[in-house]
């Protein structure tokens, strides 16, 4: 895996209720403002729709710099920070990342910044419009968790998954309920390759919305996941949701003991298996097939070599 640079610990220090920004935050915002060439703009899917540069990485950083300089207040930025999809296209197009990242070990990290601002706003009681809808969404998904073992296992009924194994599939409730094709096909492929894996039946919530709205709850889930893997002596956790994977490798190490197990994205896992074991009983298909990694794997995790391998 590509080394992750720009672990900006100061993003963990919340912007307080008074909205004062630390000097690190001011410099971080300035790094993008200083460029002002806005290569982040035409790559932003939100900007392509709204054509409003306040909704871009440049807009976010400049707005925060305006707060740091006393021109604006945090509570007025919520609407602007609502729009970002956290895809990360802006961050990898930023000259700071492209031409300074490797050398200075510092790059533009807009998705992390947006998450931070949303998280801090929520913690400080600053409520954007449509906040109630977000709360309802999170509550709905937390509801899933109360009965999660049955919920997250249902898709696997009848599939050949082991009760105990060194390697487990981490299939979160979202994938288990709305994206079952991938895990189902994966299990069939693994069977054809003669590989036995288990299913992690209590995947604690990793959804980014919770990290933005209920950080304490999110970290509690993270701790439970990591402790659970170790207690069950899991060696490899195969993650199917790219957002889970991104947060597990980028956020978990900040506060959670992640020793004793490795986390691997499903594409890498399969590619490794095929490289080591060959195609086994898989039938060749005489068709041209293209594969597109999820955007976060490339843009936020630095995994940009085909097929999703570092």
């Amino acid at each position: 895996m590509a080394e992750l640079i720009s672990k900006k610990d100061f993003y963990d220090d919340p912007i307080g209720k008074d909205g004062a920004l630390s000097s690190e935050m001011e410099k971080d915002a300035y790094m993008v403002f200083a460029c002002r060439h806005k290569f982040c703009r035409e790559v932003c899917p939100v900007y392509l729709q709204t054509r409003d540069e306040a909704h871009t990485s440049y807009g976010f950083h400049t707005s925060l710099l305006a707060v740091a300089r006393g021109l604006e207040k945090m509570e007025n930025l919520q609407e602007t920070f609502t729009h970002c999809l956290e895809c990360g296209a802006c961050a990898i197009k930023c000259p700071n990342t492209l031409f300074g990242g490797d050398f200075y070990r510092y790059e533009t990290t807009t998705p992390e910044l947006v998450r931070k601002v949303r998280r801090d706003d929520a913690a400080a009681g600053r409520r954007p419009t449509q906040w109630k809808a977000v709360e309802e969404y999170v509550a709905q998904h937390e509801g899933y968790v109360s009965d999660q073992e049955a919920l997250v296992s249902r898709w696997a009924d009848g599939l050949p998954l082991a009760d105990t194994a060194d390697t487990v599939l981490f299939v979160d409730y979202f994938t288990a309920t709305q994206g079952t094709e991938v895990p189902t096909l994966l299990v069939k492929v693994l069977k054809a390759l003669g590989v036995k894996v288990g299913l992690w039946k209590t995947p604690g919530v990793t959804v980014g919305e919770q990290l933005e709205t209920d950080a304490d709850g999110w970290w509690k889930n993270a701790q439970a996941n990591a402790d659970g893997f170790r207690k069950a002596k899991i060696k490899t956790v195969v993650v199917l949701n790219p957002h889970d994977y991104t947060l597990m490798i980028k956020e978990y190490p900040k506060k959670v003991d992640t020793s004793g197990y490795q986390v691997i994205f499903v594409t890498d896992y399969l590619a490794d298996l095929l490289a080591k074991r060959g195609a086994g009983r898989l039938k060749p298909v005489d068709k041209a097939v293209s594969y597109h990694d999820p955007c976060t794997i490339n843009k936020q995790c630095g995994l940009n070599k085909s097929p999703g391998r570092s």
Binding site: H37, F39, P95, G100
Partner: protein
């Protein structure tokens, strides 16, 4: 509206709060509330351009209102309201200019045309495309590429600049030697005058797609490069070119900048028709690149300066020209830097020079700085001497303790300037770093003095103080209007400004044009 800041520095009187409130109501009624931005951050992000910005007085340049028109009719409505209420308008497109073109000097309305982003017609048969002013060249070429066509305007801000701004700034293109700059690639345009009339501007005549006409005045010259002082482009018909089959860049190292310039100048006059760009890096620039650029750090120390060139054209043309280009560089003492640096350096030409971390204090520590590009149009015969004097200015100011960690000099690039040919004159720039976070009124004044000193050298050598970016920044503008334009041009500018903009609403006081209204 909040009360006015008492820090306003006297460049003119901004509109009163009551007038602003009235304008907001009128604008919302005319173009729709969703196209009118009044939040502080929505306005603050539209206060600056990539030129060094006086962050210590940011609030003074924050516009009162931002409007996001989608149509010519929207623009006309905004202009008419602004005239009625006598409130300034600052047009803003990509805002990638380096001449403060989009920086409001008197607050007022920023007219942000990015939502005017429609490609109206691609006319393959007649090789032209009609667009709204908010269209970006990169995105336009994504549409044109599959058709085997390009719009060749290629500024450093290629990925974010927009057509309207390119026309307003009279922009310069890295490929201008081969394909022309924006002026050569603009056939005609729709234009909203400061009083709200809509006119079609072409190379004489009213035909929208005719490149040459002998009918009427040639207003195209007048209405490109206006810095937004004479109105707003709302539609443009642009040239299309066949997409080049081959792009062949080459970089050569030299022992000194004079050697590099001699080689570049020799090549530029070689008559190779596929030669689309020739450029040089001086000694200070190469040293600057060695600070953090992984392509330049490993270059042998004997490489003190560099020259690059690029060929665009058909395979048959470029293959022959490449051979000749290499011969000329080698004959002039050049050392080929290799395919990798040649291709990658050219590929990254748009976005590599603007990192805040490039800045250094005199001990070599990183200091966050913003990029300033002081460019000039100079004849070939003057380049080496001007470069020497600019470096002497840098050495003098950077040796002063009070400037340590506040300013930094990042060396010089030069490029062939003449559109569609290589002969004669060059765009040469010296790049500086400015620690904007540390600016104070006194430091800003020192910076303006340094800029003025640099521009004076240009004028001493018979040059123009900007080939590329315009002469509207502090430190430039006084020299532009008092010296460079003193032989009648500035007086004529003032007459035209007052004639077309009787209420002085269009980007007021750019080029000190408030003087047009003094009597």
């Amino acid at each position: 509206m909040a009360g006015r800041s008492q820090m306003y520095t006297g460049l003119g009187t901004p509109p009163e709060a009551a007038v602003v409130d009235k304008a907001i109501d009128r604008l919302k009624g005319a173009i729709g509330a969703e196209k009118v931005v009044t939040s502080m951050h929505g306005r603050a992000v539209r206060a600056s351009c990539p030129a060094p910005f006086p962050l210590h007085i940011w609030e003074e340049h924050v516009p009162d209102i931002v409007v996001l028109p989608k149509t010519t009719e929207d623009v006309v409505a905004v202009v008419r309201i602004a005239n009625e209420l006598k409130i300034p308008i600052v047009p803003r497109a990509g805002a990638s200019d380096l001449c403060d073109l989009v920086v409001p000097l008197k607050k007022g309305i920023v007219l942000d045309v990015k939502s005017m982003d429609q490609v109206i017609e691609i006319d393959e048969e007649n090789m032209c495309v009609t667009v709204q002013p908010g269209v970006n060249m990169w995105k336009l070429n994504e549409l044109l590429g599959p058709l085997g066509l390009i719009f060749p305007d290629d500024p450093a801000g290629y990925y974010n600049a927009a057509i309207g701004g390119r026309i307003g700034a009279g922009g310069w293109s890295l490929l201008g030697m081969g394909y022309g700059h924006i002026h050569e690639n603009l056939i005609s345009m729709e234009y909203v005058l400061p009083t709200g009339e809509v006119v079609w501007i072409g190379p004489g005549g009213g035909a929208k797609k005719i490149r040459k006409s002998s009918v009427g005045y040639r207003f195209k010259e007048l209405f490109t490069n206006t810095s937004g002082t004479l109105g707003v482009c709302t539609q443009a018909v642009l040239e299309l070119w066949p997409k080049a089959e081959v792009v062949a860049p080459a970089f050569f190292g030299f022992h000194s900048f004079p050697e590099a310039h001699h080689a570049a100048d020799t090549l530029s006059k070689s008559g190779l028709r596929t030669l689309s760009g020739v450029f040089t890096f001086d000694e200070r620039k190469v040293e600057f690149l060695r600070r953090d650029d992984e392509a330049w750090i490993p270059q042998p120390r004997e490489i003190k300066a560099a020259t690059g060139a690029v060929l665009y054209g058909t395979t048959a043309e470029v293959e022959g020209a490449k051979e000749r280009m290499y011969q000329i560089f080698e004959h002039c003492g050049g050392m080929y830097l290799g395919n990798e640096i040649s291709e990658l350096d050219w590929a990254s030409r748009h976005d590599r020079y603007h990192l805040a971390m490039h800045g250094r204090d005199q001990s070599g520590n990183v200091v966050l700085m913003s990029w300033h590009c002081e460019d000039a149009g100079l004849n070939s015969s003057e380049i080496v001497e001007v470069n020497r004097k600019w470096n002497a200015i840098a050495a003098k100011h950077l040796s002063l303790p009070e400037n340590d960690g506040i300013f930094d000099c990042w060396g010089s690039f030069s490029y062939v300037n003449s559109p569609l040919k290589g002969r004669g004159d060059w765009l040469t720039e010296v790049d500086w770093g400015i620690a904007e976070l540390e600016l104070t009124p006194e430091r800003w004044a020192r910076w303006v003095d340094i800029k003025r000193e640099i521009s004076l050298v240009t004028l001493e050598h018979g040059g123009s103080i900007s080939a590329c970016h315009g002469g509207t920044r502090p430190g430039d503008v006084e020299l532009a209007v008092r010296e460079e334009l003193k032989e009648g041009s500035y007086e004529l500018m003032k007459k035209i400004k007052r004639l077309l903009d009787p209420n002085n609403i269009m980007n007021p006081n750019k080029y000190l044009l408030d003087e047009a209204y003094e009597d």
